[in-house]
């Protein structure tokens, strides 16, 4: 033991000259760091109640509690925290699809009652609600799932513009897996889908590489997956929670992937529809569009003998006669329809009710009648010159294209309308122009401005890719007719479409004029229904609601008990509503007939 070893420790006493380093007021002098993971905040307006936070929480600390009534795209639920469970890992913040959830840097909460530690951030007022520091999702390139959609391969515009070959190639196995992996299984989309398809479940089936299960899930609510997988308006994707941070999930393409991958021969064994007990009841179905086919499918599964009356020579209705082949190839329509027919559904082609057979006859021959006749009549703009023979309706043209009839395609064409049908006819005609003239020269004009155009965004973009010129925001005034042939369309600038009360009341600036040259004018501003097949005596029994639509109950039963109506004439217009209506009507018919028996 040296003396140095005894003395050196005493040097520690030099510390006595130093001021203490203690934080004098620990409650105020030391706020949490900027990134501190303190108590939760939630922007309830931004939050959509997708419940992803609840799903990722390893402690089951989060409950989803009702905050307001649900609407499409918002479950109305908000996360409620149990601080008897939370571990402040902030995984809920990192995974939050809308970035509404964050943690403040407040960290002191003391109480005598353990039941206090439950609250709904953003709803229950807390002292840290205004605190703008704390943990937010780290940036950049920090995501718990891929926010970018797996690109669907399309035919190149140059390749596709001169043919009607299907332009969307469909997902490969890897692509589908990668895309399906992005789903967070929140289920917000289900309510928005008119058919309420089990979207998260069939996406999960893709992930599990169990396409048979996927097909079964599809057919629970949708008997036309090939068709829907191509041309559905995919309202589900507009509310997809993943879409808030990046691209929404390609739900439609994934559906198509399932249907594409399962060969039609295997449908019956997968869906287990080999032996259906026929219950001897007969149902007549008017129209083989989506509503009719859907009703027929579900009724057939229930054991009803269905007969479809189709006025044209092929089944599919608008799906076949209204949608161009490059979007929906006919063989895919046939795949779906053939399966439905395999269930024992009978179709009478070229049989128009009201012309070849009366509704009255049907009401006597069948136990119930379902009508899904759709919107086939083109609507006229009613402007000067629109009665010219070279001014067409898009519905007619599309049908003629499908039927393979020769169409006199002009070199300059003007299409009036900004909806999906307008885009369809624009693009179809563009293809024909390309074949005939070697170049595309077509103008599509619409009342709505670019951002309000009802057509799908991708349709607009693809139309442009194919060379069509889009001129949104112009109101048609007059069709210039020279020598019995239109030469163009006079338009004025349209400023707004709706007045303050939300009524359709276009305001135009008459000073700003324009003229679109075209020797062929196509009107595509909507379609109308044709109820002429309903006999006078039955017509009296129906009541009508707004916009001239027949009033039905929730099962699409009209005031005539045996008569059900659905599809575009009731709701829509789109395929998925028709499918949903048909399914619902099938249930309704079953209930009606069951009750009748009892």
């Amino acid at each position: 033991m040296s003396l140095k070893d005894v003395l050196t420790p005493f040097t520690a006493w030099k510390r006595i000259a130093k001021e203490p380093v203690t934080v004098i007021d620990p409650f105020n002098d030391r706020p949490g760091a900027d990134r501190y993971r303190g108590f939760h905040q939630n922007d309830v307006e931004k939050c959509i109640g997708c419940g992803t936070c609840e799903a990722i929480c390893e402690n089951e600390a989060i409950d989803m509690v009702p905050f307001k009534d649900p609407i499409s795209g918002d479950s109305g639920l908000r996360p409620s925290l149990d601080y008897g469970r939370c571990c402040w890992c902030a995984l809920c913040v990192d995974v939050c699809t809308t970035n509404s959830l964050k943690l403040s840097n407040e960290y002191t909460w003391i109480t005598t009652d353990p039941e206090d530690f439950r609250f709904t951030p953003g709803v229950d007022k807390k002292s840290w609600d205004e605190n703008d520091k704390g943990w937010v999702k780290p940036e950049p390139n920090y995501e718990f799932y891929n926010t970018q959609r797996v690109e669907m391969e399309h035919l190149h515009p140059e390749e596709r513009v001169d043919s009607f070959i299907e332009m969307v190639k469909g997902y490969s196995h890897e692509q589908a897996l990668a895309e399906a992996d992005r789903c967070v299984e929140c289920g917000i989309c289900i309510a928005t889908c008119p058919a309420h398809m089990g979207i998260p479940e069939y996406i999960k089936a893709i992930r599990n590489e169990d396409l048979e299960e996927g097909l079964r899930i599809l057919y629970e609510t949708n008997p036309l997956p090939e068709i829907c997988g191509r041309i559905c308006t995919h309202k589900c994707e507009t509310v997809c929670s993943i879409g808030y941070k990046g691209d929404p999930l390609s739900i439609r393409w994934l559906k198509r992937y399932i249907a594409d991958q399962v060969p039609s021969e295997r449908y019956q064994s997968i869906l287990n529809t080999n032996d259906i007990n026929n219950n001897g009841k007969r149902i007549a179905i008017i129209g083989s569009g989506p509503a009719g086919l859907s009703a027929a499918h579900y009724l057939a599964l229930m054991g009803y003998q269905c007969t479809i009356f189709e006025q044209y020579e092929k089944a599919g209705g608008m799906m076949r006669y209204g949608i161009p082949e490059y979007r929906l190839p006919y063989d895919q329509i046939d795949k779906d329809i053939d399966y439905i027919l395999s269930l024992g559904v009978e179709i009478k082609y070229n049989t128009r009710v009201g012309r070849d057979i009366t509704l009255d006859q049907l009401s006597q021959d069948f136990d119930a009648v379902f009508s899904g006749t759709g919107l086939h009549l083109g609507r006229s703009t009613g402007i000067e010159g629109s009665d010219n023979e070279h001014v067409y309706y898009s519905t007619d043209l599309l049908r003629q294209i499908t039927e393979g009839k020769d169409i006199e395609v002009a070199e300059h064409i003007v299409v009036i309308g900004g909806g999906n049908v307008a885009m369809d006819i624009t693009r179809s005609l563009a293809r024909m122009q390309k074949v005939k003239y070697g170049k595309v020269n077509i103008i599509a004009t619409s009342l709505e401005k670019e951002e309000n155009m009802p057509a799908d965004r991708e349709e607009v973009v693809e139309s442009r890719e194919e060379g069509a010129v889009l001129m949104p925001g112009w109101a048609p005034q007059r069709i210039e007719i020279q020598h019995g042939r239109p030469t163009g369309l006079h338009v004025v600038k349209c400023n707004s479409l709706f007045d303050d009360t939300g009524r359709f009341n276009p305001q135009c600036d008459m000073e700003v004029k324009n003229f679109f040259e075209g020797s062929m004018i196509v009107q595509s501003i909507g379609q109308g229904m044709d109820l002429s097949y309903v006999d006078e005596k039955w017509m009296e029994g129906l009541s009508f609601g707004p916009r001239g639509r027949v009033k039905t109950n929730e099962y699409f039963q009209t005031d005539l008990e045996w008569f059900f109506m659905g599809g575009d004439i009731i709701e829509g217009p789109d395929v998925i509503h028709g499918i949903a209506n048909g399914h619902k009507a099938a249930i309704g018919i079953d209930r009606y007939l069951q009750n009748l028996k009892d």
């Binding site: 420790p9 520690a12 510390r15 203490p20 380093v21 203690t22």
Partner: protein, 302 residues
Amino acid sequence: MDYSLSRFLYTLLGLFIVMNWGMLMSSTMRRIIARVSGRIGIPWYQPWIDLIKLYSLRSQITHGTMFYLGPVFRLMGGVGLFLFMPMIYGSAYFMNYSFSGDLILILYFQFFGMLGMALGAGEGGQPYSAIGISRGLSQFTTIEVPMTLAVISLAIQYDTLSITEIVKAQQGSIANWTLFTNPFATIAAMLSLLGAFGHSPFNLVKAPNEIPIGPPTEYHGTFLGVLRTNGAILHVTEAALFMNLFFGGATSWLELILKTFVIYFWSVFVGVVFPRFRIEQSVRWFLKWPTLIGIISILIWM
């Protein structure tokens, strides 16, 4: 000896002052230690609050009669030490019951409290108490060796066993203090003081992270309050003993306060920067250097 009432009352007053000073001193020391650590430390009035708290606890349990008596014995040791210790030299009031042979009695009282505590804590049945006691007794025995040697040296030097006489002999000038007249005895005593005050490296009786916390493990509430009261009295009185023997005594309360503070601070000064010895190391240490110095101090005066 004069047993008049006023003397008794003055002694009580002295006891009161000593007790309060003892508590203030302990909180001050803890604040100093805290400052070396970089902390602020307890408020200066904390010992009083602690004491009120301890006396106001609602539930107390006992392990038997001796368990009760342990703290009482301990207090008796402290109070006894005080009673026979002249506090203020030259004051008629605060000479307490000092008499000509008081040094002997005081050395005995130093040990008395320890023994009482041993009996009481043993009754508590806690093994750590028992270990603490065995450590305490063996260490205290060895502490006493240099201390006693120093006292013997003093007795030879001053030719008396009365503390008052020893203080008296040191009056006049600082040079008369035993510190300068008999430095070896002072060093031996000051080293043994390190053990008596129970700071590191000799705090192995309570040793919180070895045998938490030794003899008082089972004591709580009033018992602990009594022990703490005693601690306050004992620390000042023992420091006063060293002051009287080696540092010229005190002629006023202020002087007493200053000198006891410095003497007590000595043990803190060492304690803060050294770890604790093991018991056999401690025993050996006391029997080595301090004892040797003590013997030298006697040899010088022989």
